[in-house]
């Protein structure tokens, strides 16, 4: 039996492991009946193509597709306009205090 390779769980994550009935045509991972989406993709690939979720999400996704995804896009919102280059420089990766104490490092996936 090929086990389903989709990651599941809320706080403790693990592989689904149910019997796979298909493979995701995009990323190739094995999928059980519960995890194969309508279009045949795995949930992550489907979400990336916006084939799951609310219809409005799909519309927003299409609108975004016409725009150039870059840092400038984020400034559309204006919340962060008060921060200038001087403010931002203090948050460059090499400006962190002791790297040993960085709070956003690469902690391992909490797998069961």
């Amino acid at each position: 039996m090929t086990p389903c390779a989709v990651t599941t769980g809320f706080f403790t994550l693990g592989k689904c492991g149910q019997m796979a009935i298909a493979g995701c045509p995009s990323c190739g991972r094995a999928l059980c009946a519960d995890h194969v989406t309508e279009g045949g993709l795995c949930p992550e690939c489907a979400a990336a193509r916006n084939q799951v979720g609310h219809p409005a999400a799909a519309a927003a996704h299409r609108r975004r597709a016409y725009r150039h995804r870059s840092a400038t896009e984020y400034s559309d919102y204006g919340w962060y306009t008060s921060f200038d280059a001087y403010d931002r420089a203090a948050f460059d990766p090499d400006a962190a205090g002791n790297q040993d104490f960085r709070d956003d490092g690469d902690d391992a996936l909490v797998d069961s």
């Binding site: 609310h54 400006a95 490092g105």
Partner: protein, 383 residues
Amino acid sequence: MADGHRAAYVAFDRFPSTKGSAVHIRHMAAELFDRYGGGLLCVLGGGGLPSYQREGDVEIVRFDAVVPNWLDRAEAFSAWVADRLAAHRDTLEVCHVRDPWGALPALSLGRRLVYEANGLPSIELPYTWPLAAPSTLAKIADLERECLLKADAVVVPSQVIARTVTARGVAAERVHLVPNGADPVPADVPRPPDAPGRYLIYVGALQPWQGIDVLLRAFARLADLSDLSLVICSSVAPSRSRALRRLAERLGLTGRVHWQHTLPHAEVAAWLAHAELSVAPLTASPRNLDQGCSPIKVWESMAAGTAVVASDLPVIREVLGEHGRLVPPDRPAELARAVRVLLEYPDLCADLGRQAREHVENGYTWTHARTRLAAVYHGLDLR
């Protein structure tokens, strides 16, 4: 196609992770999603976490764009959250956030906002980003204040931070105390197979304000207790314990200090339960004094029935009360003495542990915390 969600929980934190914040998010988000028939969880990804999950009525989306500059990353996260929330514009009623980066997009959507202030970036950030100028921190404090003032409810884990938040202008009737909690550890939880004979334990992250250097210096003063080890259960990766390992080496503690990194939460309980004492050596830094926190490690030690020795800070008094031993912060000699005395009186130790456990069982389990949070949501629904 899924229907729109009525609730969203937004956190600029990786979830899940082995940190205390993840335990907190787990329970608070569960309450929100139970109340509103599911919901959308927007968190940080990376580290191999899936960018998208659907678990029953809950959808989990993770921000995993690589943006090197931290402030740029916070900004990109806000914009990403705005897009995620916009998709649920027709149905969304409540947004529960933990920081300004999640609050800003929630506010522009104009839904009811619950702001959970566990810490304030304007206080916390200088510890990680020492080059941040006072003028920059003042701008961050402005953003923070704007979000707090506009929130329908501000949830805080301690009286200390409640005072800080009200001092910034938030009306006291909108501030709700929801202390952290812990779930009692079964009395018969098996001893971890690789646990040393008798050991003290520290559980948590390794930032300077945690005071682990003080603990190491105190432990060096207990060298005559040759059968005693110190276990450090770090919630962060080994790469971030380098400076402390070097200190342990310099203090001649190699071999007596056992390092455990990023243990799954469920395993930490067993380590806590079988320790002689649990130590929370928090420093008297502005971070701990003004901002406060509700240290999950202390709650979890209490729930494991293990006596706690902790720094005498207002926030610790709030949690531990009389059910543990308080010592002056930043004083290795005093900490060592307190540990020594408690080890000499195992009955006293056992009593403290038992009282602490009862205190948690009687009012501070996660079930209690969730009930308090449910009352906050209930109040919002009535408005």
